[in-house]
């Protein structure tokens, strides 16, 4: 796209599509505001930008100057950020159009987008099911064809898991690849902005633009933006590891079939495939559910009704203000995680929980390093243990919900990149398979993803 009239047409068409997608409750921005913002942006955008005219929806835990930033929570209802995230600024500088804010689990805590204060997001293929979470809104909009790409965020798999359930591509970059400036923090040592897209190419293009150095984020590495590889002819020379811990005996047979099919295709593409072991995998979810809530309990301490956001009480005293605002402004999942996080950091429990979890994290990261050091370039695994589950099925059972992250949290703990692409259908519902790559070697991971995407029958039953 190079012509302003094309950009304007894109803006209008996007607005129309987003209106049609309203029924999924994936977009939080009111239609009128959205339409106006899209047109204004189309008129202001630089025609020379590499994403000129491309509409990109933004998860509502990423700060934008256009639109409110609520993080799916009542405690930030109506909050307008006075600054924008670096990722958003980069997209705008590349000519992309911010296509509204997407619904998400509150403060990115959840795996189904049922924990949003603004209602759950419906799976575009089956409204009784969840799109996954926490970036469920972004995944649903891409799956519904409303936008070609959307920003999401990952802490324990919140881009890849909904990508898998919705049948779209989801990329989590290496920790430190994309600036977190403007990403509302949940688990700071795990968080990364990720991208959902209708194809590897769309998602990767967006990732490339938002990646790169940012002095405003001390955890962002000093690197140039990601350079995109070409689609390879074959995967000759690639060694792909299959970690046995991700194919337990009780894995859903349909999921196993889909993965087996994908692995066969990888071999046909010329890759060498071998089994590897990541022995501490079983401890990943418990480790994650100590570290992430711990960091969250601290990151969410700033929400107290004092300086921004709504106040929930006309209290006579400030402690009452805090307690009521937070008690009423946060939903049950967030409250649970804050309490959990506070508990594991508290005196008497810090060593047994937090410090121990840090040690476990090191062992999990070491597992990956060992596998990669032994000549494996990439790992291939299922993204989720099942396709989209029914709304209400797990929402009252926290531990059951946590287990949806079983294949995704490891990459966040180890800080390595990962990508989920659709690899098949199970009773009509999409399912994703993921590549996990080496730190800062997203290009190799993308090559494999491109290659597999071209040949895998993603819409066929496994």
């Amino acid at each position: 796209m190079t012509d302003p009239s094309e950009a304007l047409a894109s803006a209008k068409a996007t607005a129309d599509r987003l209106v049609k997608a309203k029924r999924f409750n994936a977009c939080l921005t009111p239609v009128r505001e959205l339409r106006k913002a899209l047109v204004t942006q189309a008129q202001a955008a630089h025609p020379s930008g590499v994403l000129y005219g491309m509409p990109v929806a933004v998860k509502d835990n990423i700060c934008t100057l256009e639109f409110t930033t609520t993080c799916g929570s009542k405690i930030l209802e109506g909050y307008r950020s006075p600054y924008e995230a670096t990722a958003v600024a980069k997209l705008k500088a590349a000519g992309a159009l911010m296509a509204g804010k997407t619904n998400c689990d509150e403060f990115a805590m959840g795996s189904s987008t049922e924990h949003s204060a603004y209602g759950r997001v419906l799976h575009p293929f089956d409204k009784t099911r969840v799109p996954g979470g926490s970036s469920g809104g972004s995944a649903a909009l891409v799956a519904a064809g409303a936008v070609p790409a959307a920003l999401g965020s990952e802490t324990g798999g919140s881009v890849r898991q909904p990508a898998s359930l919705c049948g779209v591509v989801g990329i989590k970059p290496t920790y430190g690849r994309v600036s977190r400036w403007g990403l509302v923090a949940f688990g700071s040592s795990l968080d990364q902005i990720g991208v959902l897209g209708r194809s590897v190419h769309d998602a990767a293009r967006v990732l490339s633009v938002i990646s790169g150095r940012d002095p405003k984020d001390s955890t962002c590495e000093e690197r140039d933006p990601l350079r995109l590889p070409n689609v390879p002819e074959s995967l000759q020379g690639f060694v792909i590891g299959i970690p046995k811990e991700y194919f337990p005996a009780d894995l859903d047979p349909a999921v196993r079939r889909a993965c087996d099919r994908a692995v066969r295709l990888l071999k046909e593409l010329g890759a060498a495939v071998r089994e590897v072991a990541l022995p501490h995998t079983a401890y990943a979810v418990p480790t994650y559910y100590i570290l992430a809530p711990a960091e969250a309990s601290s990151n969410l301490a700033r929400y107290d009704g004092a300086r921004y956001g709504p106040r929930f009480d006309g209290s006579a005293d400030v402690r009452a203000l805090y307690r009521t605002t937070r008690g009423e402004g946060f939903g049950p999942e967030v409250r649970r995680r804050i309490l959990l996080g506070t508990y594991v950091l508290s005196s008497g429990y810090y060593d047994a929980y937090y410090r121990k979890a840090q040690q476990m994290r090191a062992l999990i990261a070491q597992d990956f390093r060992n596998a990669f050091d032994r000549g494996v370039d990439l790992l291939f695994t299922p993204t989720t243990p099942s396709p989209a589950f029914k709304a209400g099925e797990k929402v009252n059972d926290p531990v059951a919900m946590y287990l949806s992250d079983i294949f995704t949290v490891t990459a966040n703990l180890a800080g390595v990149p990962a990508i989920s692409i659709p690899i098949g259908r199970i009773k009509g519902l999409p399912l994703g398979g993921q590549f996990i790559g080496q730190a800062f070697l997203e290009d190799e991971m993308l090559e494999a993803a491109y290659a597999l995407e071209r040949v895998v029958p993603a819409t066929e039953e496994a």
Binding site: S218, E221, Y283, T287, A320, E328, M360, L363
Partner: protein, 101 residues
Amino acid sequence: MSVTHDEVLKIARLAELDVSEDALPLLAEQMSRILDYVAQINAVPASEGVKPFVPGPDALRFRVDEVKPIPLAFGPETLAPAFKDGFFLVPKLGAFEGADS
């Protein structure tokens, strides 16, 4: 392990979160279950010689000391739920007296 109601209330106080009486039993039960679940990491013996893992850069980068504030599209007065004469306002500390700090 069992988290008692008292412990939940104590943690809630530390976290400045209101927990209603009727929410307490379920919350205590859920927290107990979650803590039991995560405590399985203790099955793994302490590991000697594994470097602690911190993702991201190995060393902190420094910024030059200069006055270069990050611009705000609008100021505190627009953000604040309560603002007067340039100050954020909150209800006074009740349970204890602070000195002007």
